[in-house]
């Protein structure tokens, strides 16, 4: 135990399971359950939709809400929940000195404007000329900012006054791993005392689905748990809308302000296996031995992409795996923060995490340590041990 341990003192979490810590804590001990699905809007794709959210609970100004696309709203909302949960919301001094690292991709494009341009282009050969004609008249000036990767962090600064620093990491699951890794490393080195880290994702937009499907990664068939996808049913991913933010603090900082501590994080393991050359399962097994050799339970970000998911299952065959994406869908950049959030909830509540699907192994009673994993659906691997503080 060290005063510079990185501990979790706030969790903000949103998925189709609901919003906030209570809804997600309940899901941890509910056992296999029927997933909340949207099967028609994007058929043949199934997605896990956003729950009903009253945005004004965390984003009071309508003007702010209007300036954001949905992924930014989800993230700003979840960040607000995390700050509330940590008892930091509205504390000007704490927020003004708080560091922030957001894991983000890009935001949603204007589907109507894009569609109009694509339809018009079918009739024209001078498409570059057409683009100028249409983009100068059809683009909403503020849409750019609602799409821009670093503007989730920008909106969190504006709405919640988190202004110590602001960094945005990009690049699928790996960006979430690097965000947590960097925040933890900075806290442990004394470069930071408290930080807001997380990400969000809105899958309910055809452009977001397209980014997966260009590589053939989306699941087409009816719902199945992540461990049992692939074959004729497409590429394995059922995406979800949601996200998670964590308030991380040095143990000393948290204790001095009398904060409730959910859990302590071990060393974050972050790497990128050359999957074309090296064996992924061996790399995952070695990383797990390094991160949490004694862990009996893992909250896994497994995506459902068959070969990658199978590699994780075989590498961690001695650990009871809980793949939350079976219930929530895949959140891309937000996978690792989400896994850590669930692990911290379970550790703090001292509850036994029941299988999320029938094919997951049982484990006896609550555990003192949970391994959180994020094996990227195309690249990047990360793990961390989440333990009782």
């Amino acid at each position: 135990m060290s005063p510079r341990d990185a501990v979790i003192t706030g969790i903000g979490i949103v998925s189709c399971l609901g919003e906030g810590v209570d809804a997600h804590r309940a899901a941890l001990s509910a056992g296999p359950q029927a997933a909340v699905l949207e099967t028609e809007a994007f058929a043949p794709y199934t997605v896990h939709p956003l729950p009903e959210i009253d945005w004004s609970q965390q984003i009071p100004k309508r003007g702010d809400q209007r300036q954001m696309e949905t992924w930014q709203r989800i993230g700003t909302y979840a960040a607000g929940l995390a700050l509330d949960d940590a008892g930091m919301k509205g504390d000007e001094q704490l927020c003004a000195t708080m560091d922030m690292i957001v894991a983000a991709g890009g935001g949603e494009r204007d589907e109507a404007a894009d569609s109009l341009i694509i339809e018009a282009a079918a009739e024209r050969n001078d498409r570059d000329v057409l683009l100028n004609e249409k983009l100068t008249t059809e683009l909403r000036p503020t849409l750019f900012l609602a799409q821009l990767s670093n503007l989730l962090a920008g909106n969190i600064s504006i709405v919640h006054k988190v202004t110590g620093s602001s960094r945005t990491f990009m690049g699928e699951e790996g960006s979430g791993v690097s965000a947590v890794d960097t925040a933890v490393a900075r806290i442990r080195a004394g470069q930071s005392t408290h930080a807001l880290v997380g990400g969000s994702y809105n899958c309910e937009h055809p452009d977001m689905l397209l980014a997966y499907e260009l590589g053939g990664y989306l699941h087409h068939g009816s719902w199945a748990p992540v461990w049992n996808r692939g074959g004729t049913d497409g590429g394995g991913i059922i995406p979800g809308s949601g996200g998670a933010f964590l308030v991380l603090e040095s143990r000393e900082h948290a204790e001095q302000r009398g904060a409730r501590i959910y859990a302590v994080l071990g060393d974050v393991k972050a790497d990128r296996t050359r999957r074309d050359r090296d064996d992924l399962a061996s790399a995952i097994a070695a990383m797990a031995r390094d991160a949490a050799p004694g862990a009996r339970l893992a909250i896994s970000s497994a995506s459902g992409v068959p070969d990658v998911t199978a590699a994780e299952a075989s590498a961690l065959s001695g650990v009871a795996l809980r793949a939350f994406s079976s219930l929530t869908g895949h959140f891309k950049e937000a996978q690792f923060p989400f896994a850590i959030a669930l692990a911290a909830l379970a550790i703090e509540a001292g509850i036994a995490v029941l299988p999320f699907s029938d094919d997951e192994a049982a484990v006896d009673g609550p555990v003192e340590e949970i391994l959180a994993t994020a094996i990227g659906f195309i690249s990047g691997e990360g793990m961390v041990s989440v333990r009782k503080a």
Partner: protein, 424 residues
């Protein structure tokens, strides 16, 4: 004896390799010569038609193999080229860098020509997006898929140069390049690595990008004489000029660099950041976040408010930035500002967005090394509200032992770097 740790006992971080591409050309020395002589890289746009556009000029990099192949490939080629140059100077193996990679790069999007192609290939029924999805479903498009993934460029660079661990791709908008350097400096200071590869690269000057900035009234519309449009600190400045480029800095702990016999080009002695909660595109009127970032960088460098010898300004040539930046600098340095030259590289190379912080840090190191201040060109009509020595129109010799380089961006991003010629 050389001191290997700084005022806080952290490893001193040296710059031992620099690679640069801008609209002025390819390579560190070629760029420096052009910049020092006050040449502009801003030209009329030829990459795409300019019908209906208010702005028809830019500082695009139009002379590389992938210049017309879209933002991803161009960002990648520039990053790889500047990294190769920097790593060669550092005397390191080209495929075994042995430290982490921090890449500042623009967000990626599927390009229009590919959207058109997919929609046409996806049959005739349904909405355009349904057709694009149908085309994707029918045949995997790994070429377009990898272009749509945000981690692709960094992953390829990581493979190419043998960097260690999970590469980080980051965006802090127009401060990204400085953030990449800051991340590298912090990793070395934490003792995680002896060296780090910090790259800023931005080849995203598409028609849509230009129109987006134009709709926010951020761009200069002084199209008639392109090379004169970027005029930081001038009364008639009317916006920035969109540009492309890349710079790579090889960072290494001074101790490790000297032990290897590497040539030290300069020191990154301080990094400071502070976010702004005022507005998505505008800075707080009192400039307090920029002031906070400058002070944090000076404090991190152990300089207090001791003045630096030269300031490499963010200096975008927008009415608001230059005014706000001057307010911040004059607040921090007070009447000592009269004697600190402040120039803007953007008067010549335009605003290279994600790459700007890295390119300008690279030029800052060269400014100290060469003992020569690059000018602010197009300074024909001084803004009386910004009374600075902006090294007007012609560069000049100057003994510069320390530099402050500012980077400010949309979304409340403010990152400042302090660099020194020698370890203190």
């Amino acid at each position: 004896m050389t001191k290997f740790t700084d005022h806080l006992g952290r490893p001193v971080v040296a710059v031992i390799g620099i690679g640069i591409i801008t609209s002025l050309g390819v390579g560190r020395d070629e760029n420096w010569r052009a910049l020092a002589s006050g040449r502009s890289g801003i030209k009329a746009i030829t990459r795409f038609p300019t019908n209906d556009l208010k702005t028809r000029i830019s500082g695009m990099v139009d002379f590389l193999a992938s210049s017309s192949d879209g933002p991803g490939p161009l960002t990648h080629e520039m990053a790889e080229t500047t990294a190769r140059e920097a790593i060669a100077q550092a005397g390191l193996a080209e495929d075994d860098f042995g430290g982490p990679l921090f890449l500042a790069a623009p967000p990626v999007e599927t390009e229009w020509r590919h959207r058109f192609e997919l929609a046409a290939a996806g049959g005739t029924g349904g909405t355009p997006y349904q057709r694009m999805l149908a085309a994707a479903r029918a045949g995997k498009r790994p070429d377009l898929f990898s272009r749509a993934m945000f981690g692709t460029v960094a992953e390829r660079l990581a493979d190419r140069f043998g960097t260690r661990g999970l590469p980080v791709t980051l965006s802090t908008a127009c401060a990204s390049g400085a953030t990449a350097i800051q991340c590298g400096v912090e990793a070395i200071r934490r003792g995680e690595a002896d060296r780090a590869l910090a790259i800023g690269s931005d080849g995203s000057a598409t028609a849509e990008a230009l129109i987006r900035f134009s709709l926010l009234s951020a761009l200069s519309i002084q199209n008639d004489e392109p090379e004169k449009a970027s005029k930081p600190f001038s009364r008639d400045r009317d916006g920035f000029v969109l540009a492309e480029g890349s710079a790579t800095l090889v960072l290494e702990s001074l101790e490790s660099a000297l032990a290897r016999g590497a040539r030290v080009l300069g020191i990154v002695s301080g990094c400071g950041e502070k976010a702004d909660d005022f507005h998505r595109t505008r800075s707080k009127p009192d400039a307090s976040p920029a002031i906070g970032a400058v002070r944090a960088a000076l404090a991190d460098a152990g300089m207090g408010e001791r003045p630096v010898d030269y300031i490499n300004a963010h200096g975008t040539s927008t009415p608001e930035n230059d005014k706000m930046e001057f307010l911040a600098l004059s607040t921090v340095f007070a009447d000592r500002m009269e004697s600190i030259p402040v120039s803007s590289n953007k008067s010549m190379i335009g605003h290279t967005l994600s790459a700007a912080g890295a390119i300008e840090a690279a030029f800052s190191i060269l400014t100290m090394q060469q003992g020569f201040l690059p000018p602010t060109i197009n300074y024909d009509n001084p803004d009386p509200a910004i009374p600075v020595d902006c090294v007007p129109n012609a560069g000049r010799k100057g003994d510069v032992a320390s530099v402050l380089s500012n980077s400010f961006g949309f979304g409340g991003q403010n990152t400042c770097l302090v660099m020194a010629r020698e370890p203190v």
